[in-house]
Amino acid sequence: MSNLIAHWNYFLVIALMMIGFYAVIARGNMVKKMVGLSIFQTSVFMLYISMGKVANGTAPILTGDTTTLYANPLPHVLILTAIVVGVATTAVGYALIIRVYESYGTIEDDELIKIIETEENAEAGDA
């Protein structure tokens, strides 16, 4: 039991991860998929950031005092990069959603599939 409480941050991360992943898979709306994807990615950011925590460690700022205990800054730096990547992915994703809406008039998966199937059948017809 104490083991569970001591690792509460990881349970939180996994819960978020599954919520996000579920939304990506189960939702048919493109915007909801993107929201799910962002939650999924954020859970990974939290996984990295919480693993950098050192018990009783302070912020990793050099003071010259060698006895100070620091948190591990490397995972934070890594996740800074991953956040940038995440923002870029989100931007490209929403840009695509706008283009899809302009072109098809819908961003629902099932409706899109129907339109695309009709187009494909028409194409196979003249092939």
């Binding site: 990974v44 992915t89 490209v92 092939a127």
Partner: protein, 494 residues
């Protein structure tokens, strides 16, 4: 200068990308892309021959910081073999891109197209060269993000490119995130991200459940990126609806890079002796590989659109690479490397030739090529040779791939798998025959648009065709290099 070559071949296209976007002029942007991919190709050839001659591993410390503190770029037998494949295809695809892009993409977007084009190439070269696990993720995302944009640029001609790019983005990001989760677990266990260092320190904790979970996440993420059956659903629409130049570049290189990263992580970091690796990854990859070979080939037989047909056949061919990996032996890995190399050439030839047709008439369906064998003989012959190489006909590069693949399977007494590999390859004859029958044995319908071919149309494809045949006849240098690459990960005799 010479010692900076490992970084230069990544840096040139990376820095060229914003420059291409700033140039705004399409011919200048294309010229820049051609120059830089050409330079990258030249550098990778130099690195390859250097590595072949010395047989040593070249390590480049970024910013003068040696490993494990700094990030290193590593040129060993494996990366030296894969680099020229990518930069070479990128160079030839760039030659062809000018005509294809002019035909298919809005003139305003050309400079931006080449910017994204250079970025995706830089990302792929970076993934192959870097010796840092997190750096792989960064390059993976650089190449993927620009690839999503490139696929979406097909929307001017075919609006289905947009949903295809979106699905590619969702699944690509899920794959990359799985990789990062696995990497996080590895970092927690070992406190390092350098691939060599990781592999050393992992030996102490290799029987923990966390290490195995990390393997599962990393392998699954890369299966998604390499489009291993049944995680391949993003690939066919993305390749089919993308601009023709992008289809050619991506079909020939994108999934191969992920195959390479999978080999580097699974064998280079976890190692063949990692507990549960042979059962979990080996067996899984073998099963999915052979299933993918059948599913991809059968789906290809049913397709009537040439781009979709050969995209489906890519699923099958990736299955063969997976079988090579799943054999868990030096010969198996060598077969995977040989097929990685050869398949890139074949698919490059095929998609460049198909692109030359699609750029003229909008799309390359069976109706479009009916009776086209006499109208555009050189282009159709390129498709024919590519198709024969996919089956594995002798004198083509595909034969060498299949030969070593079957050899690796027989080494392990996997008779059934060897037979299944043979059967699925033979099945590929069905879709190649369908093309032969349509293009040569049927009359061109009246009123069909007239297809033309000039050197700009067929030379890029034929460069690939000549390489396909060349490496089919003079295969021994490639086989030697592939064995050297395999021995980086698994020791043992030939």
């Amino acid at each position: 200068m010479m010692q900076h070559l490992p970084i230069l071949q990544v840096l040139l296209p990376l820095l060229g990308a914003p420059l291409a976007a700033l140039l705004r002029h399409r011919d200048m942007a294309w010229g820049l892309a051609l120059l830089l991919t050409g330079a990258a190709f030249l550098i990778s050839i130099i690195l390859f021959s250097q590595q072949q001659m010395t047989g040593e591993t070249l390590v480049y410390d970024l910013g003068g910081w040696p490993a494990p503190i700094g990030i290193v770029y590593v040129i060993d037998a494996a990366s030296a073999l894969v680099l020229p494949v990518i930069s070479g295809i990128a160079f030839v695809a760039t030659i062809a891109a000018r005509r294809l892009v002019e035909a298919e993409i809005d003139a305003r977007d050309h400079a931006l197209f080449y910017a994204a084009w250079l970025l995706t190439i830089a990302g792929m070269l970076g993934q192959v060269t870097t010796g840092d696990a997190f750096n792989i993720f960064v390059f993976l995302e650089i190449s993927s993000l620009s690839a999503y944009a490139l696929v979406a640029m097909g929307a001017g001609r075919d609006r289905r490119a947009l949903p295809a790019a979106f699905n590619y983005l969702i699944l690509g990001t899920v794959g990359a995130t799985f990789y990062v989760i696995g990497l996080g677990l590895l970092y927690m266990l070992t406190g390092t991200l350098n691939l060599v260092d990781l592999s050393d320190r992992l030996a102490d904790v290799q029987s923990t459940r966390a290490a195995f979970t990390a393997l599962a996440f990393i392998a699954l993420g890369l299966f998604l990126k390499m489009a291993l059956f049944p995680l391949h659903f993003w690939l066919v629409p993305a390749y089919a609806h993308a601009p023709s130049a992008v289809s050619a570049l991506m079909a020939a290189t994108a999934t191969k890079v992920s195959v390479y990263v999978l080999i580097r992580l699974v064998f280079g970091v976890f190692g063949i002796d990692f507990p549960g690796l042979a059962d979990a990854v080996g067996l899984l990859v073998l099963t999915l590989g052979i299933a993918g070979a059948f599913v991809g080939t059968l789906a290809a037989i049913l397709e009537t659109d040439l781009k979709k047909l050969f995209a489906q056949s890519s699923i099958a061919q990736l299955g063969y690479m997976a079988i090579g990996i799943g054999a868990m032996s030096a010969t198996g890995l060598a077969a995977a490397f040989i097929h990685l190399f050869n398949h890139a050439l074949m698919k490059g030839a095929l998609f460049l030739a198909i692109g030359a047709i699609a750029a003229q008439v909008g799309r390359a369906g069976m109706g479009t090529i009916q009776g086209a064998g006499r109208q555009i003989p050189l282009t159709m012959t390129a498709i024919l040779v590519g198709g024969l190489a996919l089956i594995g006909v002798p004198l083509t590069a595909g034969f060498i791939s299949k030969l070593y693949l079957v050899r690796a399977l027989l080494e392990q007494d996997f008779w059934l798998l060897a037979a299944l590999t043979f059967i699925s390859s033979a099945l590929a004859l069905a879709y190649v025959w369908k093309i032969i029958e349509t293009a040569w044995l049927k009359e061109r319908p009246k009123g069909a648009p007239v297809l033309v071919e000039t050197p700009v149309h067929y030379v890029p494809a034929w460069l690939m065709v000549i390489a396909t045949i060349g490496f089919g006849i003079f295969a021994s240098p490639l086989v030697d290099a592939a064995y050297a690459a395999a021995h980086v990960f698994i020791g043992g005799a030939r």
